[in-house]
Amino acid sequence: MRPVIDVQHLTKTYRTYKRGAGMGQTIRSFFRREEVIVHAVKDISFAIGQGEICGVLGPNGAGKSTTIKMLCGALYPTSGDIQVLGFSPSRDRKRYVSRIGAVFGQKSQLIWDIPPIDSFHMNKAIYGISDADFKSRLEELAELLDIAHVMEKPTRVLSLGERMKCEFVMAMLHRPDVLFLDEPTIGLDVVAKVKIREFVREMNRKQRMTCILTTHDLEDVEELAQRVIVINHGEKVFDDSLQRLQLFLGDKKLVRFTFTDSTRGAHFENAYTRVIERPSDLQITLEVDTSLISISEFIESIARKHHFSDIAVKELPIQQVVMKLYEGEQSPPDMQSTPEVSLSR
């Protein structure tokens, strides 16, 4: 089956000027500017199928937003090819954008000084939505996002969470086939985040809507995405399922002990164990490489030396996995041999 989003060897290069810091460098750059070539996106390729939710992770400046903007048709790629829904976003922009929606966490589509309902009416005219469709769609979205009571208040008086929900209505009124979300939960409280995640899941389920999500909030990815792409320094460093991402560092688990007696002076570090946290002599969190020792053997080995009253075994947090990827830690050999996973530094 043909993918909904097909990106081949995408590259974006900017030309900018080095301005320098401090008085001396600034004055020097005023008279003689040094040209700097920025490779924001380097030869990225991926394909996404219909109905898939794909999370795009990466540190600040990694090239995530640039990639999303090129996918939305807002930026021209320097080279490479993008096909979304059979369109080339930059070449067929007008026809293409009528089939997609986008929510940018830090850029608003609402008109600041008037109520969101007026902005919704503007989109109704722009996308040529019929009166009946607009009414039913708005009722559905307003109920799902619980915003019926705020739609007629000026946008400027709404809370960030309410505004973001209205941004989703703006993006969804015309029933897009693909939704691009660029940090949609940035700055939101837990309640608003949960509501927005539920909404995206529901739209994805009901409409088979394909979704690309860039975020720094790994919970967004854990809650929504089946697939994860990690971008760092403009390059794709990982592209696979969330489970595979969690396995990235091998079979490692976190084990937290609460001891009944002090463990002062005891050593826990060895070939398969690493101390993660030791807040007191009675508590410790260890990272255990379960490819070298089974969890039961490990617990037995600890129990032989120390008495404990509580134990908790957890998966390695995804945050830690991603940080390792960002830092460019080498992948284990079994991952490198997997053809679906691209790991490059």
Partner: protein
């Protein structure tokens, strides 16, 4: 076409609602714009009161030029006035993609959403001054109104072209908030009878940056002072506006956003 009219109407309505959301700001900015644009003919009045004059032109004939200039500026500002500042702010903040996400010509969308109702004051002030001047010049033949309308439309196209070119420059020349002063200084030439300037300036002001078309030629049409050759400048005016729109659309390709 019908769809575009509907979109324009809806966006214009939203722009109007946004403009009047803050009553005092709307009233004060309308008054400031009106005063700033309508009071400049006072200088002309002072010149003539002191016994000086523009050779070959009576006070009311000069006021007629200036009233046409004001009307043209008011109309162009009403429709295109917000394009410059909105484009500039989107580029500086890296939010131009919000415009590009709409399935429309981005220039049309910006023009529609930046309808500037606070310029209505200038247009109304210009019309008042125009009626006052018309009442004091020689009787205007009915047939003179047709060439006036054509030249007035051409003059408004020049004003629009200048705005679009300035807005287009902000794609490359990011954050230059004084760019409009450059245009204002060129436009000053259009507020006075063209024959008072040297021939070379007259040629530039008619054919290169046709600001002479904004006030001088339409007013001359009413006064029966135009010649058939003057109408040759009508086409460059519309080409000038088309060039502004073309440059703007071309410059969108340079848009690079800001770091996300």
């Amino acid at each position: 076409m019908k769809r575009y009219f509907k979109i324009y109407w809806t966006c214009m309505r939203s722009a109007f609602l946004a403009a009047i959301a803050y009553r005092m700001d709307f009233i004060v900015s309308s008054i400031i714009t009106l005063v700033g644009n309508v009071l400049f003919p006072l200088v002309t009045l002072l010149i003539y009161r002191s016994g000086a004059s523009f050779p070959g032109w009576t006070l009311y004939e000069v006021l007629l030029i200036q009233s046409v200039f004001t009307m043209s500026g008011g109309l162009a500002n009403l429709i295109f006035g917000g394009v410059l500042w909105t484009t500039m702010s989107h580029i500086r903040e890296g939010s131009f993609e919000v415009i590009l996400l709409k399935p429309l010509n981005p220039l049309f969308f910006i023009v529609a959403t930046t309808f500037s109702p606070d310029s209505i004051g200038v247009l109304v002030g210009g019309i008042a001054l125009f009626l006052f001047s018309v009442a004091h010049v020689d009787a205007i033949p009915l047939l003179s109104w047709l060439p006036f309308a054509a030249l007035f439309a051409a003059g408004t196209a020049v004003m629009a072209g200048i705005t679009l070119m300035m807005a287009a420059m902000s794609f490359k020349w990011v954050g230059n908030s004084r760019i409009s002063e450059l245009a204002d200084s060129v436009l000053h030439f259009g507020k006075y009878p063209l024959p008072i300037f040297p021939k070379s300036i007259q040629a530039v002001m008619t054919l290169v940056i046709p600001v002479g078309m904004v006030g001088f030629l339409p007013a001359s049409a009413l006064l029966g002072r135009v010649e058939a050759t003057d109408f040759a400048a009508v086409l460059p005016c519309f080409l000038f506006m088309a060039a502004g729109a073309w440059i703007y659309r071309h410059m969108i390709r340079l848009y690079e956003g800001v770091g996300g």
